[in-house]
Symmetry: C2
Subunit: 298 residues, 2 copies
Amino acid sequence: MKIVPRSKVIYSFSSKHKPAAYVKTEEQVLLKTEDAFGGQITDEKHSITALDWSKVDGATGPIFVENALPGDTLVVELLDIKVEGKGIIVTVPSHGILGEKRFRPTTHAVPISNGGIQFDRKVRVKAKPMIGTIGVAPKTGAVPSGSLGRHGGNMDVKDMTAGAKLYLPVFTEGALFAAGDIHAVQADGELCVSSVEVAGEILLKFHVIKNRAPKWPILEKSDSYSVLACGDTLDEAAELAAESAVKAFMRQYNWSFEKAYMFGSLAVNLEISQVVDPKKGVRATVQKDFVALDSFLS
Amino acid sequence: MKIVPRSKVIYSFSSKHKPAAYVKTEEQVLLKTEDAFGGQITDEKHSITALDWSKVDGATGPIFVENALPGDTLVVELLDIKVEGKGIIVTVPSHGILGEKRFRPTTHAVPISNGGIQFDRKVRVKAKPMIGTIGVAPKTGAVPSGSLGRHGGNMDVKDMTAGAKLYLPVFTEGALFAAGDIHAVQADGELCVSSVEVAGEILLKFHVIKNRAPKWPILEKSDSYSVLACGDTLDEAAELAAESAVKAFMRQYNWSFEKAYMFGSLAVNLEISQVVDPKKGVRATVQKDFVALDSFLS
């Protein structure tokens, strides 16, 4: 097993980064990860106002994956996610879905133990650790780890949990994969701009599908596939996600656009991932009964 | 049991409508309903291009409910939904989430039997009949049955199924409730602007909560409450839904705005209802573990 330490954190996705590790497909890799604040906030005395915003939503890596070349799909099998015992939630004035309201910067530290988060003396929430930032180097330039796109990034998808598989288009030799920014739990939306931000460990392994790739990252759960699209607005993200799902039906069944579009009303669930990052994220989720992975690749 | 025939269909919600029936609370009511096209399209020979658009998404009613007064909440308990044996799905150029693409007007008739919809020779979808249009008379004016707002209307919520309860703010004496536009199944989004449109029957009964009302309709399922908000964009609808959920936490726990807002990231799922009506619909869904109905009423 290859272990990549927490010190190997990057705050952008770029083909220019030097690999932190070289791994083979099928080899288990353990990423030790910083929390979303890069460890800058450790208790309620640390105000978000002192934060260095160039060091948020960082990811451990990048990992050079053997045999991954542009035009391929990097398959990321999420085997396990462990979190530390304390999470941090913050409100940041002007941020989040209610950013136009007047409110104070607040830091709230919550204990995490026995599979639960003690949000308040009386309110306990079941933990469901998920990965906020996960992706590969984009085709060109450097994308900050707080943003997202076709390369993945800070997608903040609540179902990016142990047991899921992620299919990412590869744009550069070795893919240059990185992941971090674990949340002990997050609901669809991530309303206030942060969730239960926590340091931890991600155990995963890679496969490669040669010469075919999805347009957007695809998330596989036990019973469904989701297109993970993003846009400047939820409406734009929803349209892009829907378009990929309708195209998948056209490939799967050899249907006309019209027929595939109609089927979308019956079988494509548009789901909000988050509404608070530089781009908004929407998933188009289809049960495996109705579509195969193959239909998302071209 | 009171039966309201299909002929009592209205194509707007308005306090000016004469009641089609007067019912008591706790009395069972059976609404016989037209499909979304008011029966104008019965097979694939009927093109959507000949449709009279003033007669779509109609609702059977209005029902004057005894003891419902402005400022109250009308509780609608959905007991059963039955559908006829044939559904109609259409594509309409310039309509739906991919309305900017070029495509033809299409009418697709699908048989419905034994709890399933035969979309295609090889593709069968499980039926989950839900109500597209359901609401009360708005405070002022007449709202077309194809639109939606705080009074309800064409909300197209996939969970508006038998077993659910809907809480609507009452704006006029008797509430003047109506419902119709059943879909044999619909996924979140209703991508192509129609789903499996079908005539049918809705069995329901009413209760009234006196002198308190929610800002937006609230949908109760077995384990959750959802705020059903709408706006000109998904982003606006999401913000309005989120705001109501955060306010409910402030009432429920006597928390500051900041604390309630943070909790939103853990416990409020923003869900897309539909993206294709005159206003877009987003639900803010919270598990009953974390909020009581009471906290949504003021």
